[in-house]
C-alpha cells in the first residue's frame, strides 16, 4: 500500500490494460502529429527570412529544414489534414489516458527521490504541453485567438517541449506498456476495492473510439472538400460551399477585413515587377494579354481545411521573371493589404520555376472575386494557403539579403 487513500478510487476500469491500450494509440498518434507539424513548419520555408519566418530565434530547432517541394501538389493538403483532423481525433484518447492514471497524481509520498521528483516534473511538462498544444491548435482552427503570444511561436516551441517530455515518458514506460497489454504489472493503477462494473473494459475503449470517430465524422469533410464538406457539421470550414459570387469556394480572410480599398484594386492598379531589367508596371489588361495558363490546384490552409482543386488561369511566375529580365529565382511577393503577418512572403526558386505556379487573374472561368484576391493572386502547387498571396501589388525577383 502506498499509504494514501487509494481506496477512494473505485472505478473497475482503471488498470494496466486500459492505460496501455490508450497509451499504444497515443504512442503512434502523437508522433504523427509532431512530424506533420514539423512538415508544416518546413512548408513555410522559414529560412528565407522576413515574411516567411515567425520564429527567427529557432536556432538548432530548425535543423531539419529543407526546401519545400512543389510536387506532389496535394502533399500539404494531406499532411496538414492529418495534423489537424488527427489532433481532433486524439483528444478523447488523451482525455481517457489522463483519466486512467489520474489517481497516480495523488501518490504518497509525492516524491521518493531526486530522480523520482525529476520524473514527476517531466510528467507535468508532458501533460501541460500536450494539453497546451491541443488547446492552442483547437482554438486556432476556430479562429479564436484567446491564447497569449503568436500561434506560430507558442505552438512550435510548445511542440518541442512536448517532444522532450514524450521521449522520456516513452523510454521509461515502454516496458510497462508491453506488459500492460497482457494485463500484467501496473498494479498501482488498479482500484484496490473496485466498485461493481457498469461498463466492460472493451466497452470503455469502444466508447473512446466512438468519440474519436464522432470528431472525425464532423470535421474530415473540410479537408476532402466537394459534397463531403456538408458532412463536416462542426468544422469551421464545413457546410456548403459559397456560390459563384465567391468563385464557388471557401473564403479565408476577406478584402474588407484586410483593409483592401476599392480604389487600390480599381483601374489604377498596376502590378509592379522588379528585376535586374528594371521596374515594370503592368495593368490587369496588359497581364491578360500575356500568355495565359490554366492549372488545377487546391487552397490548403494551415488550419487543416482545403478547397477541392480549382481551375486557375493566369500568367506563369517564370514568364514574369523572364519579363523582368531574370532567370527564375526566388521571388518576393508583396500584397496590397496593409495589415497581417502574411502581407509579404518569399517564394523559393523551385516554386517560381514550376510551370504550374501562376499569378492568377481568374478562377473557375470568372475573374477572381475581391475576397479571393482580385485583381491578382499567387497560386503555387503544394503551398500553404497563407503563402498564396492575394491582392498582389509587387513582385521582386532576387535573393533575400
Amino acid at each position: 500500500m502506498n499509504g494514501n487513500k487509494r481506496g477512494f478510487w473505485r472505478s473497475p476500469l482503471r488498470g494496466p490494460w486500459f492505460t496501455s491500450v490508450l497509451g499504444l494509440v497515443l504512442l503512434i498518434g502523437l508522433p504523427v502529429l509532431f512530424v506533420t507539424g514539423l512538415l508544416s513548419y518546413a512548408a513555410y520555408n522559414p529560412d528565407l527570412g522576413r515574411g516567411n519566418d515567425h520564429t527567427p530565434d529557432r536556432g538548432i530547432l530548425g535543423f531539419f529544414l529543407f526546401p519545400w517541394p512543389t510536387s506532389p501538389h496535394w502533399l500539404y493538403r494531406v499532411t496538414q489534414g492529418i495534423h489537424v483532423i488527427g489532433g481532433f481525433v486524439l483528444i478523447p484518447v488523451v482525455l481517457a489516458k489522463l483519466w486512467s492514471v489520474f489517481p497516480r497524481l495523488f501518490q504518497w509520498p509525492p516524491v521518493r527521490s531526486l530522480t523520482h521528483a525529476l520524473e514527476r516534473g517531466s510528467l507535468l511538462l508532458l501533460v501541460g504541453a500536450t494539453l497546451f498544444e491541443l488547446v492552442t491548435g483547437v482554438l486556432n482552427t476556430q479562429l479564436d485567438y484567446l491564447f497569449p503570444g503568436s500561434f506560430y511561436r507558442v505552438h512550435y516551441y510548445g511542440a518541442w517541449v512536448f517532444f522532450a517530455a514524450l521521449v522520456v515518458h516513452v523510454a521509461l514506460r515502454l516496458g510497462k506498456l508491453r506488459r500492460g497489454l497482457r494485463d500484467e504489472g501496473g498494479e498501482e493503477l488498479r482500484a484496490p476495492d473496485p466498485a461493481p462494473s457498469t461498463i466492460s473494459r472493451r466497452g470503455a475503449v469502444a466508447l473512446v473510439g466512438a468519440g474519436s470517430l464522432t470528431l472525425f465524422a464532423v470535421t474530415a469533410g473540410q479537408v476532402t472538400g466537394g459534397p463531403l464538406r456538408r458532412t463536416a457539421l462542426l468544422a469551421p470550414h464545413g457546410g456548403a460551399d459559397p456560390g459563384p459570387e465567391q468563385n464557388g469556394f471557401q473564403v479565408n480572410k476577406t478584402a474588407a477585413g484586410r483593409g483592401i480599398r476599392a480604389a487600390d484594386t480599381g483601374e489604377h492598379w498596376r502590378l509592379r515587377l522588379r528585376g535586374p531589367g528594371g521596374d515594370l508596371a503592368l495593368s490587369r489588361a496588359e497581364l491578360l494579354e500575356l500568355e495565359q495558363h490554366t492549372v488545377r490546384l487546391p487552397i490548403d490552409c494551415v488550419e487543416g481545411w482545403s478547397t477541392g482543386d480549382q481551375t486557375w488561369t493566369g500568367v506563369r511566375l517564370k514568364d514574369l521573371a523572364a519579363l523582368a529580365g531574370a532567370e527564375p529565382d526566388h521571388m518576393y511577393v508583396e500584397s496590397l493589404q496593409r495589415a497581417g503577418a502574411f502581407r509579404q512572403v518569399w517564394l523559393r526558386a523551385n516554386q517560381v520555376r514550376d510551370g504550374r505556379s501562376l499569378l492568377a487573374l481568374g478562377v473557375n472561368g470568372a475573374p477572381l472575386s475581391k475576397d479571393h484576391g482580385f485583381p491578382a493572386r499567387i497560386v503555387v502547387p503544394n503551398n500553404p494557403g497563407v503563402h498564396q498571396t492575394k491582392w498582389v501589388e509587387r513582385l521582386t525577383i532576387g535573393r533575400p539579403v
Binding site: 518541442w160 522520456v168 466497452g203 471557401q250 473564403v251 480572410k253
Partner: protein, 137 residues
C-alpha cells in the same frame, strides 16, 4: 542512465521553453500549467461527479444509454465550444460564414445521439436484453 535521459530532456525543454516564453512569459507559462491544473482539478472532478450522480439516479441498467450519448455530446461541446457558444469574434469577418449555425447543429447532433440510444434501449428491451453491462471484463 535515467537521470541522464531526464537531464537531456530538460535541456531541450529549456532551449525550446525560453523561446516559447519569449513575450508574455508569465501568461504563457500560466496557460501550460493552467491547462494541466484546469483539466485535473476541474474537468475530471466535474465529469466524475456527473457520472456518479447519473449512476445513482439511473441505476446500472440504464446508465450506459445516457452515458454514451452524453459523453459524445459533451466531447463535441468541449472541442467546438468557441464556435458553438459564439466566442470566436474573428470567425465571421474572416470567413463570411455565420457562426450561428453551430449551436443548432450541436443540439441536433445531441438529439440524434440520444434518440439513437433510446432506440437501442427500446429494441433491447423488446428482445429481452435491456442491460448494457456484461459480466465479463
Amino acid at each position: 542512465m535515467k537521470l541522464l535521459l531526464l537531464l537531456a530532456s530538460f535541456a531541450l525543454t529549456a532551449y525550446a521553453g525560453i523561446r516559447m516564453l519569449d513575450g508574455d512569459w508569465f501568461l504563457i507559462a500560466l496557460w501550460v500549467v493552467g491547462a494541466a491544473v484546469a483539466h485535473d482539478l476541474l474537468l475530471i472532478p466535474l465529469y466524475a461527479a456527473l457520472d456518479r450522480g447519473a449512476q445513482r439516479v439511473l441505476g446500472p441498467g440504464l446508465i450506459n444509454y445516457v452515458r454514451v450519448p452524453a459523453f459524445l455530446s459533451g466531447l463535441l461541446l468541449l472541442v467546438f465550444a468557441p464556435l458553438i457558444l459564439r466566442g470566436s469574434a474573428g470567425y465571421e469577418p474572416a470567413t463570411l460564414k455565420s457562426p450561428d449555425v453551430f449551436l443548432g447543429r450541436w443540439l441536433l447532433l445531441t438529439g440524434v445521439l440520444f434518440a439513437l440510444s433510446a432506440l437501442v434501449y427500446a429494441v433491447r428491451r423488446s428482445t429481452g436484453r435491456p442491460r448494457s453491462t456484461s459480466p465479463e471484463r
